[in-house]
Symmetry: none
Subunit: 234 residues, 2 copies
DNA sequence: GAACCGCTTTACAGTCGATTTACAGACAAT
DNA sequence: ATTGTCTGTAAATCGACTGTAAAGCGGTTC
């Protein structure tokens, strides 16, 4: 059963939510203020975050932003008393998956939780070791190890891009898709060279020659493709 | 850009929504009543459905149910004046991804649309593997694989032409039709040899002898035809 | 607050695919 | 066989796309 983290300072709402989730069979974690919430959100492992925006010490937007840096895909539902459209838009644009205005009933909460979890990818057996000709990338340690024993550190973005490309190895990925999936932005690409820069940096760290790449291939007019080591025609 | 289907009977809301979506760069489809809506929802290809619940002839729940039988994953956002929790729960439990209560602003609509699309799986290409005597073309990898194991890269245009010809295999396609459907131009052909050049390049990469073609046949005075026989679409 | 760090944007040059041009060979009709 | 039309393709041109250096921008560290 999925684990759900609830960050909410109002005790009665918090316990109500936790009760409803537990009754539905979910495992739960919680924090009652922003500071603890951020701590837990960044360290614990969970499948969904229910996040209040107005919290003591650290506000919900800050937590959401921090979480997104580290785990760009974990689903988040914002729970807030602020019903202003501007806040809802802000929350959704920061990468929240849904936004519920208090007060809400237990059944609607469960329905939304189920809806979000239903379409979120299974917690992937997180690929954290990516082999490539000449070495391997260890996402748990944020580093690349080469056959000669040398290492290079990887930044968060670089790892996110590498992970997405590797997860879709053997398929040409458009810059737009990368922006959508990794950055969680919905803009038309072509306006920025950011992705190219990250690929360039990745290639440097993977020791992949851009003029004749063996790991991250350029697909002109489309995007990039992580080369599969053994690709068999079916 | 993703295509969004809007099923909504209130003309002013419908046009408002369509305008907002188009302004954001989405392709749109729409239906103004339940009967048409169900028809379109089951037949057309789209990436997201915005669905009103109260519709003439056939209600939104029925459409949603029918759509889910056929395509369990296509994301759906319900637009409804009914703010009752029971309705929201019912909609979400039927497999909707979100539920917006009218009235809503354009920016919140776009924020929710983006949030839902961000996470939905990419629409798979209609055909990504085209077999022909002697090898196959893999559109996901932008390459041709021959029986002997060698490969050729395909450009975007070449793939577009090949895909269109293969999708209409066995039918002679005029240059004008190719220009219209692939280039999205409405010019009379004959003024350019562009298509011939792309066909020539394709034949070279498919190892198809132009003087005795087995894959892309020349239909004199008409255009070209992809030969049917063993063409697998996946 | 100065230095640093990672991410993003800007700018630009080289590369490569798309298109046009030009022409020779192929085909059909007379 | 002759003629006019249509197709195949080599070569030149054009323009879009990519790689990358360098600068800008927040944010964090010392």
């Amino acid at each position: 059963m999925p684990t759900i983290l609830v960050i909410e300072d109002d005790a009665s709402i918090r316990t109500g939510v936790l009760d409803a989730l537990q009754a539905a069979g979910y495992d739960t974690l919680f924090a009652a203020n922003g500071r603890d919430g951020q701590e837990v959100a960044l360290r614990a492992t969970f499948d969904l975050l229910l996040l209040d925006l107005v919290l003591p010490h650290v506000d919900g937007f800050t937590i959401l932003k921090a979480l997104r840096e580290q785990r760009p895909v974990t689903p988040v539902i914002i729970l807030s008393a602020m019903g202003q459209e501007a806040d809802r838009v802000k929350g959704l644009n920061l990468g929240a998956d849904d936004y519920m205005v208090k007060p809400f009933g237990a059944r609607e909460l469960l329905a939304r939780v189920n809806a979000v979890l239903r379409r979120s990818p299974e917690r992937p057996a997180e690929v954290n070791l990516i082999a490539f000709p000449g070495g391997e990338a260890d996402l748990a340690r944020c580093e690349v190890r080469h056959a000669d024993g040398t290492r290079e550190e990887l930044s968060q973005r670089e790892m996110a891009v590498l992970q997405y490309l590797a997860a879709n190895a053997g398929r040409a990925i458009s810059r737009e898709e990368i922006l959508t999936r990794v950055w969680r932005l919905t803009v038309s690409a072509g306006a920025t060279r950011t992705i190219d820069m990250h690929v360039a940096n990745l290639r440097a760290k993977l020791r992949d020659d851009p003029t004749d790449p063996r790991v991250v291939l350029t697909v002109r007019g489309k995007g990039y493709m992580f080369k599969t080591s053994s690709c068999h025609a079916t």
